[in-house]
């Protein structure tokens, strides 16, 4: 059974981030259906983790022979500050920069460089970034940044 369009997209999307980042243990990246949304599960977290999941999709006629597909994917970047005390600005700054410098370019497929999935070409419509979650930072020393990425493609 072939995978749905949004799943193959999410998988390629995850691979693109992985290539840009190159995680090694204990850092991980994975495609999931349920991201670790409970901060209670993350009290002993070590390393940096990225999760990718499908959110929604729709389509509309593009022309008489093709359809334009819209797909929205979610990305979570999470890491716990394991040193005693409250996370300093420098630690947070480095992670904010990681999202801007490594993750966002890896999911921002403009016209010159679309995400290629076989013969498919997927483009990014927009990337919305929640820089961090103040509550999770305050309560659990967690860097928690979520991205919502809108993608589109035209296909027969």
């Amino acid at each position: 059974m072939p995978d749905a369009r949004i799943i193959t997209t999410a998988e390629a999307f995850k691979d693109a981030i992985s290539t840009a980042w190159g995680p090694s243990s204990p850092n991980t990246i994975s495609r999931v259906y349920v991201a670790p949304v409970s901060i209670d599960d993350l009290s002993n977290l070590t390393g940096r983790h990225i999760y990718v999941w499908p959110i929604r999709y729709s389509d509309q006629p593009e022309n008489r022979g093709e359809t334009r597909y819209f797909m929205t994917l979610g990305v979570l970047i999470v890491e716990r500050y394991t040193t005693a005390g409250f996370p300093p600005n420098a630690w947070m700054d480095a992670l904010v920069y990681f999202v801007e410098d490594t993750v966002k370019p890896a999911v921002d497929y403009d016209g010159a460089a679309p995400l290629a999935i076989g013969t498919r070409k997927v483009y990014t419509e927009s990337v919305t970034i929640d820089v961090y979650d103040a509550e999770k930072l305050n309560q659990k020393n967690l860097f928690w940044s979520e991205l919502e990425v809108e993608l589109w493609e035209v296909a027969a």
Binding site: P61, E62, N63, R64, G65, E66, V154, A156
Partner: protein
């Protein structure tokens, strides 16, 4: 088979190019077409007479114009045919069949002519590139512009203007 009453929708309309001869056409749909705006507009000349105070007009010539909006795609043979025709003179005018439905649907109507094509694109940073091909009929020794109505078994009735 009798025609069936139904709403006609734009996405079901079709533009075909003739890949065969004029007398034995092979109609191939150009599937990357998005929108077409066919127009048939008659010129008129005064035909008034003293028997009536009404101004009378007689149709004289007919202007067949319109535009075809088609997604630009270098790998698509239909788009390539339109592009080539737009870049060359009237000797390269393609034989087009512009219908308000599928060629296999009885009662579908449209225009057949060798068309001169003009070319316009919008390279907006946030858009997919479509080409607008404005058209009007070209002279061609094989035949003159006609209006068409599809009959049963995809057999058209073709009537010259």
């Amino acid at each position: 088979m009798a025609e069936t009453s139904a709403v006609q929708v734009g996405i079901a309309a079709a533009v075909y190019r003739n890949a065969g001869s004029y007398g034995s056409p092979t109609w191939t749909e150009i599937t990357l077409v998005k929108s077409v705006t066919p127009n048939v507009k008659w010129n008129r000349s005064d035909a008034s007479i003293r028997a009536t105070k009404a101004l009378l007009q007689a149709k004289t010539q007919v202007a067949i114009t319109g535009s075809i909006e088609c997604r630009a795609d270098p790998a698509d043979a239909g788009y390539q045919a339109l592009f080539t025709a737009a870049m060359t003179d009237s000797t390269g005018a393609p034989d087009l069949l512009i219908l308000d439905g599928d060629i296999a649907t009885e009662g579908v109507k449209g225009i057949r002519a060798h068309m001169n094509l003009d070319f316009a694109q919008n390279h907006s940073i946030d858009g997919v590139i479509y080409t607008t091909f404005d058209y009007d009929p070209a002279w061609h020794s094989a035949g003159y512009p006609s209006f068409v109505e599809m009959g049963a078994t995809s057999t058209p009735t073709i009537t010259a203007f």
